[in-house]
Symmetry: C2
Subunit: 353 residues, 2 copies
Amino acid sequence: MVSPTLSDVAQAAGVSYATADRVINNRGNVAQKSIDKVREAVAALGYVRNVAAANLSRNRVYRLAFLIPTGTNAFFNRIRNHIRHAAEHLSVDRITVEIIDVSAFSVDALEESIADLAQRDVDGVAIVGLQNPLLEGPLAKLRESGVAVIGLVSDLPQKFRSAYIGIDNMVAGRTAARMTGMAHAGGLGAIQTFVGSMEARDHAERLQGFCDVIAADYPHLTVLDPILTKDDPAVLKEAAGAVLSARSNVTAFYNVGAGNSGLVAAIGAAPENRPFCVVHELVAHSKQALIDKHIDLVIDQRPDIEVNRAFAMLRALLDERDLPPMPDLMPTIYVQDNLPADPLIDIAEAQSR
Amino acid sequence: MVSPTLSDVAQAAGVSYATADRVINNRGNVAQKSIDKVREAVAALGYVRNVAAANLSRNRVYRLAFLIPTGTNAFFNRIRNHIRHAAEHLSVDRITVEIIDVSAFSVDALEESIADLAQRDVDGVAIVGLQNPLLEGPLAKLRESGVAVIGLVSDLPQKFRSAYIGIDNMVAGRTAARMTGMAHAGGLGAIQTFVGSMEARDHAERLQGFCDVIAADYPHLTVLDPILTKDDPAVLKEAAGAVLSARSNVTAFYNVGAGNSGLVAAIGAAPENRPFCVVHELVAHSKQALIDKHIDLVIDQRPDIEVNRAFAMLRALLDERDLPPMPDLMPTIYVQDNLPADPLIDIAEAQSR
DNA sequence: AGCAAAATGATCGACGTATATCATAAAATG
DNA sequence: CATTTTATGATATACGTCGATCATTTTGCT
């Protein structure tokens, strides 16, 4: 009942341990005949390499790095907290983690940071990326030197990373639309949307998904042209306030991007008969707004699951074993009743200097 | 930069390896003075025990068991699939998993199964339990023999398990109510509820949470007395059909328990102007019903996360290390747009014999 | 002081794998 | 057939910890 060792395999295959080892770690200089015998023995005995012993032997340490956009963006602070928190518990497994700040959404800065990684003696990286061909050169170089690369939250050019971990923003937008549609219960309505920037791929995708569902399933609702906010709370406060005081026929707000504190401030100032409100990302602000009933829904991308998956993925890539099962990652709907206790949300602001 | 070994600690503390080892694995017969010195050295060097090496040395294998209710219940089939799937990838870590079927919701059967576990030479168990004092005896005996015990999905008597992994059913009910309230957009309405059994603690809690929120925040809605279904699809089909054909003023259905296929069948038979529908647990049936727009929402308890957490928890308990970060577990809201791809949902029915 | 009990040191052989060296055996080449 | 490749075997050391054993030293107690 105990699992077989490589010695057992060698014996069963009728070869020496050395030869079995040559096959398993394909070191070459082995006759095809022997390879087959070993392979068969592996299959017959159900041999699985003991990764713990292997890593112990080669004294393996994993040096991981995360490239995360800087700034006061509450969402990325939350991601950072999750990474740090996970990292604390990973030293047990000989894993060291480094969070590298990158100037937010600048292709040049990102390109440079990726190039820098090559010097840094790193085994695996998760990058909050951009779909820009400029990144392909440094990414290719990085991967050639044996570094595992995955995209996180925002994808990299597909051929230049091993995996992408993040939600489908089209789905996120569709989900927001579905909830907004439901909340109108068949009545007429007009939805004021807000976006940070139409160049941001994730914003565009969310809006697209949103409009698709409203058009298809809620024809009695109108989606108004998005107001551009640059994710700036001040801009949002101003714009939302204007809409509210105009006593327009707007029945719902959907903020595709960030800057929710401004939106909440505007609503707080005019609480009477506010529109139905959907925003993205559960952070200290939006959580409090939910509790205060200033907004109705938060669509979240579960950064805790994302970070969890990122680590599992990187380890699997580095150990050359296949992926363990991981929780599914889908846009999650929060209302005031199903909020997680997660303290990492609330300390987000405090920790970001 | 390499992490210190116990030898390093011993040296730093000015004691022999043997003494350091006595402290770390508290084997006793060590002077307080030495204990302190070693503790200090551990803190100073940041020593963390190499679990891989430790397990290798003691040739540790974890024998885990899951006690899961039998029957064709789609939800538990899904749980079973997740366990099996996870188990496949855990042999790498020398973990063997056994799923033990228990006659559903029978205290006697559960008591017997728990007693049997003592013979079974198991290191850790996750039990879909009941809050019944009858279980306390066998549970105490089990834990005395060094077995780690956690409750899964449904809790055990609190003093007799190390942890509980499952959602708060009150929260689940509240969440369902919030969504149902929203979907009425301030209009009048009456909600027909269905429960399997009022003795089932989870059903009662969900209903309680549901009624609480409706009463507090949606006073224009009426919650009708629950119809008892015994989780039987046939009963549900009959009852729901009757309500529908009576052309009553019912605006929403909330099924607290199982047997959704019956509810869906009734709705499918009378599709015109159906009520708003909320059910629990995403399984093949309910997923398809969402896609077909026969129901509106599914509140799910994320069995994938639950199983993930259960394994992490058991390993942490057995290794005597502290818990790694795990994704939060909250009732999750699914609509037709944010459904997970998870193939384990769909094969659920097929795999159950 | 004398003696038992408690504490400490020194050291060994596992665990399963990686990685290396060196000698020998088999196969391919001309 | 002689010679060079190529393949195989045998064996050693290291990784960090656990669980021993045995000898020795220190402490506590009367």
